[in-house]
Symmetry: none
């Protein structure tokens, strides 16, 4: 699954630096929109969503501080950081006072900028992350919740053990495909020795016992190859 690009809005009046950063951050897989003044940036924000704003401070018309104030007022969800040559203590303090997530002093090393941004976005994102991994399956007449390790058939709920659930999960993801002993054992047991193969058979039997309630499902052996979870459609 390919990760969604993070969107960054950059407000920087210097053509050189603006171009440089746009190019570099694009290369680093960010989607970046660059504006050379606050007015146009604010305009754009009305119809676009970003994950982060990077603001220069010294700019004609509207400086970065005023821009930040307006952004905070109108788009309070958007985190922003300052990137400025002004390194006086008073400026840094003002930046943070306004609620910046960081204050970086020019000249900034591009790699450091990227890793700071990545860290920042990861942290902001991870809070939002809900366990929406693939864990909920429809399996013929069954429902399988691999997170809770529950297999349901109508009203009945079977509480699977961890290994049962892991195995079923593995097979479901590869339904109607041959899964070799070797791959299963390596993935779920960490190696593929003789005794674990015996163990695998025991678990196959157990899963069959659950699944036999639905005749459209079968868990078949392919001699000396592996198993296939077949589901008729």
């Amino acid at each position: 699954m390919n990760k969604k690009k993070h969107r960054i809005i950059l407000v920087e009046d210097s053509a050189d630096l603006g171009y440089l950063l746009s190019e570099y951050l694009s290369m680093k897989n960010f989607e970046i929109n660059w504006f050379i003044n606050g007015i146009s940036a604010l305009k754009n924000l009305e119809s676009n969503k970003y994950d982060l704003a990077i603001l220069d401070i010294t700019m004609p018309d509207m400086d970065g501080f005023s821009l930040a104030e307006q952004m905070k007022e109108r788009f309070p969800e958007l985190p922003f950081l300052f990137l400025s040559a002004r390194s006086l203590k008073v400026d840094v303090l003002k930046g943070f006072y306004l609620g910046a997530v960081d204050y970086l002093k020019k000249p900034i090393d591009e790699e450091e900028l990227v890793i700071r941004i990545e860290n920042l976005l990861n942290r902001l994102n991870s809070e939002k992350r809900v366990e929406e991994d693939i864990c909920h399956f429809k399996l013929g007449q069954f429902t399988f919740n691999s997170l809770n390790q529950e297999l349901s058939f109508n009203d009945e709920i079977f509480h699977l053990t961890t290994k049962e659930s892991e195995l079923l999960h593995y097979l479901v993801l590869r339904q109607n495909m041959l899964c070799s002993h070797k791959d299963i054992l390596i993935k779920l047991w960490g190696n593929n020795d003789y005794f674990n193969k015996k163990s695998l058979n025991v678990f196959i039997t157990r899963l069959r016992k659950y699944l036999e309630k639905d005749s459209a499902i079968s868990l078949d052996n392919v001699h000396s190859q592996g198993f296939i979870l077949r589901i008729e459609k």
Copy 2:
């Protein structure tokens, strides 16, 4: 309501700077514990909860990077930042790579340090608060007020202890979902060691005792995984 002091653990081998920072941050209304090496800091973390760790890098015995690695492993909820005289790009990158929330170069202006810390903690907190704001629940036939730590069943009111309430709150927010030992322990105890797991079991038993009055509620164990608070609908 008066704001709870934020707790900071400082690991810094220089007596001068350690003392200076301890004093200054205390004055700024932080509760700060200062350790002169990683070993003693790790030891202390086992039984104390902090909101932030500030780590020096150049230290005898265990350097700040190794310390950070171990902290990340054992106390993954604790955010940390580096405060170091090592300003080489490679060090900064390594610091962020390890997951630091910031990397500050000595000499650091105390005011800037404080405002950076305050901003950081504010952000970290506001992200957490989202779920902590919800404090009033209907739970089968029970009502649960996590703010007052009260669990009510008809006219009966059970006054829960802090830990009981925290645990129930955690589980209620994730009802009908498997909550792993690890996540519970890290969130509520700050780490996940053997003895806290024992402690968790004791609290599970207590909660069950309250909840058994409503047969539509069950607090089930999933062997070697965690617990599920199930509420029939």
